[in-house]
Symmetry: C3
Subunit: 384 residues, 3 copies
């Protein structure tokens, strides 16, 4: 028989005490917030903020650009099993690695923001070969400043914070983020304000990499969205274009397929996309506005479970091509001095067939029966 | 009405207790020292040491090579408002980024040392294009070892520490630093000993990037120094050569102008330079020795306030050109086995017109009325 | 007289309490384990685990891939005086630096593992010039997850942990390590299980960089091993091939010499190598199996003491050439889906002449009098 001393329970400590009036207000609405700090391994020093609104909970990671690690409704977890097994502290994510692929060392959240100076495939200087823009940018691996949790008298809880991409003389854009939920809500709402802090004009990009695995994803699961036009990113995606909206079981060695699209919306620009399971009785919908996020990407990575069986629903300001290509095509945000670009995004869980059906109907109404224009091969304007 | 839980007050903790005799001695001279550790955001884990001599206070950052974050005389702060909003922990400063510009992510101190293996513009290998020397070197982003605070019976306070640039088989140079102040002193004195720890010869470089913004800097502020010869770094600086010593108000999009120079000194080699405000009743002077720091650089960056309205007074062992250029021109320190290169530098605040006038007179005496040789264009020997 | 406040005693704190039954069992066998966390400088945040079996102690570094920092028998330390003066936290080791040499900033342990995706000299892409494989890989600068210390009823102490090299979509190999010792043992045993966590095949490499300086190493010290074939890595090593097994005193500017070899073994594949001092009354032997670690490297770096007077005994799965060369020569481990490659390695201290003699006899028996084939120049198959 052995006696053990476990040194990696990821014990937690928060240096911050919840003030009594805050705590009282929380309790009166059946809300709960916890702040923890992880110990040991690649997680060492990572801060987590977990919110439980009574019915639905989610965890944000201040240390990782206020990304959403995972969410839960009862025992059902929304997220995926990344081989990365994070959350990984940014110090173990080598963004500056010459390959531009270091970002992949930290990739395991439910929602990862890609930006702000750039997102998409890494880009190297064509003359010197030096890295100019790393894969999916820096914002997901920048820690959050000025974190505050607020609860209103009506019981709406709001997490605020600011994530900065600042290089003296070069770039100074901040993302002011608010994440809100309230009792009874089976999800949360994000408002990000991308703010140019400089007196000079600049550009920005943003993509929300919303990643879902089992149990929503599975053989026969499907994505439902009001696509107007769809295009495969490359030849591999083209080979799967016919089945772009449905998913297979995990397949060893499956090569990722990425589909670029634009969605229909209501007269305010509001639209949404749904991932539902094969039975149609569980789903996750993503809500956004095409004036803010005009492009939508579906990422299918139905590889073996241990290699990350996952799909991404990705509303974005652009397609995830190298930065220069997107800039040339006019798909970057131009930000004048001190300008702000506001983005609203909501995630909602659908726990039953009725709720799934409801959002499907809403999506169907957006296209009003028109079929999407389906390109069989990559289009020059969309694909680098 | 909202109830808030603030998670980013940058609460502090020092694991080290001040010993009773130390504390008693401090108090008997009206001195105060605090050691803190910041929590959250890009500052997470940064250590600060703040010294108050009764009349003047300053903060050093052991975590960032014992740079000087800012200083204060009453309510007047010496320093600048960098868009970086540090202090930034070195783990968020990607010195090894292929561009060589990662250093700019952490640039916000009153005094930043640039060195030791190199300083100046980044340099890439001409054949492979790979980064050889990152902008301004590594020393400002190396943590300090063996930090000790001492107070003498006479009331002189001294902070000691050692910052190392060590790469096995390649480089092993340490900077042993001492920062001193005493009651009544409106400033502090630095002594750095650049020490080759290897049994083999090597080289080193050092530049003190002393950065000042408002309220000393402002429209009509000027730099006063005993220049013997002055040269603009590039065409942009050349366009401003006539007004090199005076400053404008903040201007959106102002492109930095850099002036290289050599200063006159007394017969011991001691010299100084002054930045005074437009009224001439406030100023900061920098004191050094031209045998130790033979070159002087004025950096004008009178950009918009939010882009960093700032000027740099920069005594140095060399000009901030790429390392190879400076080496070719003989402007690197040669360090034999275990050799030491000592540098003394003092910063002094001038709170009134009389004090400003006094240092101006001293500077005037150094040149004895001789005019500086003013080059209108970059000189081949000085500018790469 | 001065009064001092010391801020860098590297004070320690462990967030983990040893459970009473564990502690009781430890004590009943005269064992001791301590877990500490260092504060300040480049060590800030480094975790150490120190085991004392009553007669012999050693320190592992969970934060640095569970490397062995040093060991002690009484007052005699096994290890070396690296100019690096670590242990250095991985955040101060720029593995991704374009040069590929950043690993050298953290090099100061008794045992450093080199791997897992690659080890050996850095390799850059021949077309783009970009870093592909940094010097000696990433494993030594990855923190350990799931650390547990166990003690059996018989008094065998075991430290377990797992070190991961995981890049989503690219690589997912873990090293499950166990380090064991027991009362009376003058050393420790390591079992590493290199595990492919992916559903797809991959490759791995491993080299144990076992580094010893004074007092074992010194003028007249020698390495004794059952070499079958020996080859100098390059011209510099070739110039020292005749004296490959004996050591000189420290010499300023000594250029490292590296010898590649294969060793004889018993019919189970077990073999060992010894470093003994000039008197032959102190030594350290390394025990391993040539079916697991078929190659052996002797690294002589008898430079000046302050530049790191040290030798390496390095059992490995390959020679430390660039990754592509080793792959081409078939000297990488092929790992099928979820495959495991197990490696056993033991280090033993020999405190007296009898103990040294005993292991020497054992080694002599392995070769049974046959002389090693000694190549005078680098061989094309072994040396890149």
């Amino acid at each position: 028989m052995s006696n053990r001393w476990i040194l990696s329970e990821y014990d937690v400590e928060s240096p911050f005490q919840q003030p009594a009036p805050f705590l009282k207000m929380l309790k009166s609405h059946g809300l709960e917030v916890t702040h923890t700090r992880l110990i040991g391994g690649r997680r060492d020093g990572v801060e987590l903020l977990t919110v439980n609104n009574g019915d639905f909970s989610f965890t944000t990671i201040p240390t990782r650009g206020m990304g959403i690690h995972q969410a839960k409704h009862g025992d059902l977890r929304l997220g995926w099993n990344s081989p990365v097994e994070g959350p990984v502290h940014p110090r173990f994510v080598p963004l500056a690695e010459p390959s531009g692929l270091g970002w992949l060392d930290g990739m395991d959240e439910l929602i990862v923001r890609c930006g702000l100076e750039s997102n998409g495939a890494p880009e190297h200087d064509s003359e010197t070969g030096r890295l100019k823009y790393p894969l999916h940018g820096r914002i997901a691996n920048q820690p959050t400043e000025d974190v505050v949790v607020e609860v209103s008298e009506e019981g709406e809880l709001c997490i605020r914070g600011e994530v900065r991409e600042t290089r003296f003389l070069c770039y100074n854009v901040a993302m002011e983020t608010e994440i809100r939920t309230q009792p009874g809500e089976k999800g949360f709402r994000i408002r990000d304000r991308i703010t140019n802090r400089s007196a000079q004009s600049t550009t920005a990009q943003m993509l929300y990499h919303i990643n879902l695995g089992a149990p929503i994803l599975g053989k026969g699961a499907s994505v439902v969205c009001p696509a107007v036009e769809i295009c495969p990113r490359n030849d591999c995606a083209a080979s799967g274009i016919v089945d772009w909206s449905t998913y297979s079981e995990p397949k060893v060695g499956f090569e990722e397929q990425v589909f670029f699209m634009q969605l229909a919306a209501d007269n305010k620009g509001d639209t949404c996309a749904l991932l539902k399971n094969s039975e149609g009785d569980k789903g996750v919908s993503v809500h956004f506005n095409i004036k803010q996020l005009p492009y939508f990407i579906v990422w299918k990575n139905t590889a073996a479970e241990q290699d990350g069986y996952v799909t991404g629903l990705e509303p974005a300001t652009n397609f995830p091509n190298p930065h220069s290509f997107e800039k040339e095509k006019g798909r970057v945000i131009n930000l004048g001095p001190e300008a702000v670009y506001e983005i609203d995004l909501a995630l909602q869980f659908h726990p039953d067939a009725a709720s799934v059906k409801e959002v499907e109907t809403k999506i169907a109404n957006l296209t009003a029966g028109r079929e999407a224009k389906l390109h069989r091969i990559p289009q020059a304007d969309w694909c680098s």
